[in-house]
């Protein structure tokens, strides 16, 4: 297309006709509109697609007359969620408690080990193989042993969830502690900073974005660890979490309740992810590249 016959957009022409000269640029205008549309679509689209999917699920069940013990419709799942809320909420609290505790211990253990590793290379050489082995061995295969050796069900579950959750925190924080700017490290030496000051004023802040990245992964993993461990632990009765409720409902062919419990687990995962993302955003928004708005 030659320059001569390039199409003039309507807005540019209007601007010229008002006599004030080209007050706005057609391309910029288009870009701004695209941005606004994207802003709205970011929320509306996923909600719309989700609603459609649920409606479609419902239609499949109705049209094919699928019995509820094979595939319950979304309405029935919601009804079950309300009806069984007493049992399910108790189970949710148990799962949440284990997840939160495991995550807390993973943070303490992961950051603690990372600090130890960066303070002493020899400690890292000695212990990092253990960390890797714990990470690469599937938790489902370790869990039965754990429940043999550990009397308390709660401690066993906690340990399983911790094993799964602590490694990303350890690995990320170690990386972060080591990636402090080398000139700033020299500056610390020149000002004769102590080991503690170096850690406190340079390494820990440098590691914060890395740690928070690890935390986001670990949050989801702690939940997975808690659920998987409970599957392995099996019997429970009082003080059982959502995984146990799913197993139990499965034995009784109470499929709607299985779905309801599953829904709760998924929601919990989403809430955990959103919480850790929010924490990350709040902690970094003022200075870190990842939290900056770009236009």
């Amino acid at each position: 297309m030659s320059i001569a016959d390039s199409p003039r957009t309507k807005s540019a022409v209007t601007a010229n006709e008002t006599g004030g000269g080209p007050l706005f640029d057609a391309e910029e205008e288009r870009r701004a509109r695209a941005r606004r549309v994207e802003q709205i679509a970011r929320w509306v689209l996923p909600a719309l697609v989700m609603a459609l999917a649920i409606w479609f699920w419902d239609r499949i069940v109705v049209w094919n007359e699928i019995p509820h013990y094979v595939l319950p419709g979304p309405g029935l799942v919601a009804k079950t969620l309300v009806q069984d809320w007493g049992t399910l909420s108790q189970a949710l609290v148990v799962t949440l408690k284990i997840t939160a505790m495991a995550l807390a211990v993973a943070v303490i253990g992961g950051v603690g080990l990372a600090v130890l590793f960066t303070q002493s290379k020899f400690a890292e050489m000695c212990f990092s193989p253990f960390a890797v082995i714990l990470q690469v061995t599937p938790i489902v295969s370790i869990a039965p042993l754990i429940f043999i050796y550990i009397e308390s069900r709660l401690v066993g579950l906690l340990l399983c969830a911790w094993i799964v959750a602590f490694f990303p925190i350890l690995a990320n924080t170690t990386l972060g502690l080591k990636s402090a700017d080398h000139n700033l490290r020299d500056l610390m030496t020149i000002y004769r900073a102590s080991r503690w000051q170096r850690l406190r004023f340079l390494q820990l802040p440098s590691a914060l974005p890395y740690f928070l990245g690890g935390l986001r992964i670990a949050g989801g993993l702690a939940l997975i660890g808690a659920v998987v461990a409970e599957y392995v632990a099996g019997t429970g009765g009082i003080g059982s979490g959502l995984a146990f409720r799913i197993l139990e409902a499965g034995y009784r062919l109470n499929i709607p309740r299985m779905f309801a419990a599953l829904l709760l687990i998924a929601l919990t995962g989403v809430v955990i992810y959103m919480t850790t993302s929010l924490i990350s955003h709040l902690a970094l928004r003022k200075w870190h590249e990842s939290a900056l708005k770009r236009d």
Binding site: N183, Y191, P205, W287, L292
Partner: protein, 266 residues
């Protein structure tokens, strides 16, 4: 700073602050980075270490900073070493991105246990010396490259150190910003009486800024000539266009090129 003002005496009458005697530095593997480097840094000097890359000028700076120790020879501080020996400006601004400008400048004090409140006046003074008093609550990412460098300079001089080391601080900046910062550095120096050791590979920068230029050569790194620039401070645009300036720049440039091995082109 104003309370600690130091008078700059004429060249030749200044007391020595730091003495490097016959310093050798050999790196692991046998590379001789510096050979027989002797250098007295005097109170009020503005010394430029000028040379091609690989001449050991940055190594000399790191030795003074105590980031490495000499293989042979001695580095002695007059009156012993103390807390306020050094301020450093690197080639990059080297600021903590998570801390505000004021908190960055506070760092040297913080490391010796002095709270922000206790030294607030000195921090504000240092920031106003570099013209950033309005930006004390900004984060480094909100500043331009030149402004970040100013913060770095404020941090280096906030403790009123005996010697400020600068390792090609303006090399990464554009020419206009660079000239402005050169001007400002000189007016800072005039105000504070700071002693500066400045590493650069720019002939013009060294002639504009310093009163002593130490021309260095590579393989092995050594000082081949000291050129005195006896022009009064403050220096401004008149100095950039003065005939003496051109003459000294010419002499410095010739010395530098004479020291390059025949195969090396500039």
């Amino acid at each position: 700073m104003s309370s600690h003002d130091r008078m700059i005496k004429p060249l030749g009458q200044r007391e020595t602050v730091l003495r490097m005697q016959e310093v050798d530095k050999t790196f692991n593997g046998g590379v001789v980075a510096l050979r027989r480097l002797s250098l007295d840094v005097n109170q009020g000097d503005f010394i430029s270490l000028l040379g091609p890359s690989g001449c050991g000028k940055s190594t000399a700076l790191r030795l003074i900073a105590g980031l490495m120790s000499p293989t042979l020879g001695r580095i002695t501080w007059e009156g012993g070493q103390g807390q306020d020996d050094l301020g450093v400006v690197f080639q990059e601004p080297t600021l903590m991105p998570w801390a505000t400008v004021a908190r960055n400048v506070h760092l040297p004090f913080r490391l010796r246990g002095q709270s922000y409140a206790a030294v607030k006046d000195r921090i504000e003074e240092a920031l106003s010396l570099v013209g950033l008093e309005k930006f004390s609550n900004s984060y480094p990412r909100e500043l331009s490259g030149g402004m970040k460098m100013r913060v770095s300079i404020a941090r280096a001089l906030v403790t009123n150190p005996r010697v400020i080391l600068m390792d090609e601080p303006f090399a990464a900046l554009d020419e206009i910003t660079r000239q402005k910062l050169n001007d400002d550095l000189l007016s800072l120096k005039a105000k504070t009486g700071a002693t500066v050791v400045f590493v650069t590979h720019s002939v013009f920068e060294s002639v504009f800024l310093s009163d002593r230029i130490l021309v260095m050569a590579a393989r092995p790194g050594r000082i081949i000539k000291e050129i005195i620039v006896d022009a009064p401070y403050p220096r401004g645009i008149e100095w950039r266009t003065a005939p003496e300036y051109s003459a000294i720049a010419r002499e410095t440039s010739d010395t530098l090129h004479g020291a390059l091995a025949p195969g090396e082109t500039h």
